[in-house]
């Protein structure tokens, strides 16, 4: 039978291995497949009872197995989940809530108090209560009969250059297409034990959460604090017998850069996928040398195409200065490189065609039209492709390589950031006259320059209330005046050179 709803994964698996642990964290909290199934059906029944259907439901919970059940519960209710994070600053959360205008926010005991402070006039409900709603089988069946595979299941927010985050909305069919093709490439199965690093409010966690219900595998949520202490991190991987990780590069280099392999090795780890950032070859070689039997796969893709679109299984050694290719697209996805005249080229903007292309940006037709566009190679019928804004090329082996971003969007510690969004936020601070954020790539630092009547320390403090942690400038410098280009724009190139020590 063809899968057309992601919940069919869960329903097939719960029949097979109901008592097996599906999700667990480092603090002893866990849920079996049967518990995930029962709780999520209860939550779906709650939404049905309240008459909430086809709407965004904000999930504001601690990162726990129960949060995953809340995601599926939302889908059982025929709604789409929008995870937001505890550590997100209030300003950003309020912008997201303003975009969604949600009626319901699901919280747990630890977040409910904070939720009261948001600019939110809907209803706050407690997971511990709604997950005990008696199951209404008839209502859930009615919802399922109504649902089609292009109905959305989640929204995740990415950085936007105007300072307003963009909500990428994805449907069943895109997620199913992605999970099927990713699983085939990566060889996931029932014995896979994932060590999850990615926050649940990013699409990156799809890689673990959905194959887990598809195969009856297991996801262990790695405590965030461990990513500061690599030795303890590897000990945790061993304790939990984790055999598969799909992490941002900075989490992996944390282990290799500190010589952890001299002390202890991840004994069970057989599958390592990485992405979202360029892997420094020096660090990558340390990994490969320490783990000769482990398969390494580089993944590439934007949130707008449901996570990852391309893969490359490392099959050879790389010299320093070389970059690891992004390889080739998954089955059922095509990559088109377009030059500045919108013609197919060997080097150009990476554009994605396929079922995995998401539905667009929620409540933002303008931004959607800019990036989700008619395929310029096809004049004959409507066909949407997604323009990533990344520049790629084919190397002499016919493999795709990522070259750089087209605009000011950068990758910092695994997060996609628009420098413009940082600037837009800094500009709103009292006393700021002008500012410019540049990225010092070699050191992975965001350097903020500003002119204004505010002390550096005060600015830094203010920004902490406005920007997520990963978007905060690493270095802040006050200037008497902003360097300008001959035509009067802020001289980004000069500041970029200054940040990297190439100019005084």
């Amino acid at each position: 039978m063809q899968i057309r709803n992601v919940l069919q994964y869960l329903e097939n698996t719960v029949k097979r291995v109901p008592g097996k642990t599906a999700y667990e964290d480092g603090e002893g909290r866990s849920l079996t497949f049967a518990e995930v199934y029962e709780k999520s059906r209860a939550a779906g029944s709650f939404l049905a009872r309240e008459g909430v259907y086809g709407e965004p439901v904000v999930i504001f919970m601690e990162k726990t197995p129960d949060q995953v059940a809340a995601f599926f519960g939302t889908v059982y209710g025929g709604c789409y989940y929008v995870p937001i994070d505890e550590e997100m600053p209030k300003l950003r959360t309020d912008l997201i809530i303003g975009t969604l205008k949600p009626k319901i926010m699901i919280c747990d005991e630890s977040t409910a108090g904070k939720a009261e402070e948001f600019d939110f006039d809907g209803r706050i409900v407690l997971w511990s209560e709604i997950s005990k709603t008696p199951e209404d089988e008839a209502a859930l069946t009615r919802i399922r009969d109504r649902q089609i595979d292009t109905d959305p299941i989640y929204i995740v927010f990415t950085s936007g250059s105007t300072g307003v985050p963009k909500g990428v909305i994805a449907c069943h069919r895109s997620v199913i297409d992605y999970i099927e093709n990713l699983s085939e490439v990566m060889g996931f199965n029932e014995d896979t034990v994932f060590g999850n690093q990615s926050p649940f409010y990013f699409d990156a966690c799809l890689k673990e959460l959905y194959p887990t219900i598809k195969f009856g595998a297991k996801t262990v949520i790695v405590p965030k604090q461990l990513f500061m202490f690599p030795l303890k991190l590897v000990e945790f991987l061993n304790e939990k017998k984790i055999n598969t990780v799909c992490w941002v590069v900075s989490a992996l280099t944390m282990i290799s850069a500190f010589g952890v392999f001299d002390e202890v090795k991840p004994e069970y780890l057989k599958t390592v996928a990485f992405g979202s950032e360029v892997f420094p070859i020096k660090q990558f070689r340390i990994w490969r040398q320490a783990m000769p039997d482990t398969v390494f796969t580089n993944l590439y893709g934007p949130t707008e195409a449901t996570g990852m679109s391309c893969w490359y299984r490392v099959d050879r050694d790389f010299e320093e200065g070389q970059s690891i290719p992004i390889g080739r697209p998954f089955n059922n996805t095509e990559i088109i490189l377009l030059d500045d005249k919108d013609c197919r080229a060997d080097e150009g903007e990476i554009c994605i065609r396929g079922t995995a292309v998401t539905l667009g940006y929620y409540n933002n037709p303008e931004k959607t039209r800019e990036s989700f566009v008619q395929n310029p190679l096809n004049d004959n019928y409507p066909e949407i492709i997604y323009r990533t804004g990344d520049i790629g090329r084919y190397n002499e082996r016919g493999e795709l390589e990522f070259i750089s971003r087209k605009d000011y969007q950068i990758k910092h510690l695994g997060h996609r950031i628009e420098l413009g969004e940082i600037e837009a936020n800094v500009s709103t601070v009292d006393g700021i006259k002008s500012c410019c954020a540049v990225y010092y790539k070699e050191k992975d630092k965001i350097c903020l320059y500003y002119v204004g009547d505010i002390e550096k320390a005060d600015l830094s403090k203010t920004l902490k209330g406005m920007l997520p942690r990963y978007m905060l400038p690493t270095v802040i410098t006050q200037l008497d005046m902003m360097p300008l280009t001959p035509n009067g724009k802020i001289n980004r190139k000069y500041l970029g050179d200054k940040a990297s020590g190439k100019a005084e």
């Binding site: 965030k224 604090q225 990513f227 500061m228 202490f229 690599p230 030795l231 303890k232 900075s250 944390m254 500190f258 010589g259 952890v260 001299d262 002390e263 510690l413 050191k443 550096k456 320390a457 830094s460 403090k461 942690r469 990963y470 905060l472 690493t474 270095v475």
Partner: protein, 75 residues
């Protein structure tokens, strides 16, 4: 010690590093901070913090971190 405080102040100017002994336990420092601190310390003090020393106890206070730098410097 002053140079170390400079690094720390740049990260969180609102923390009293003279008295705080729970920088990790109270989640004041996160992984981004640790990476920055380690990079800066390695560079400015010409030491190399090994994995075995990268444990919460060494980062809970400015004092503990300074003791670590001195220990590494002597070795």
């Amino acid at each position: 010690m002053d140079e170390l405080l400079e690094i720390l102040n740049e990260l969180h100017s609102d923390v009293d590093y003279g008295t705080c002994e729970t920088l990790i336990d109270d989640k004041i420092l996160d992984s981004f901070d640790i990476i920055t601190i380690v990079t800066e310390v390695n560079e400015r003090f010409d030491v190399k913090i090994p994995a075995t020393e990268l444990v919460p106890e060494n980062f809970n206070s400015a004092k503990a971190l300074w003791a670590l730098i001195e220990r590494l410097d002597e070795a």
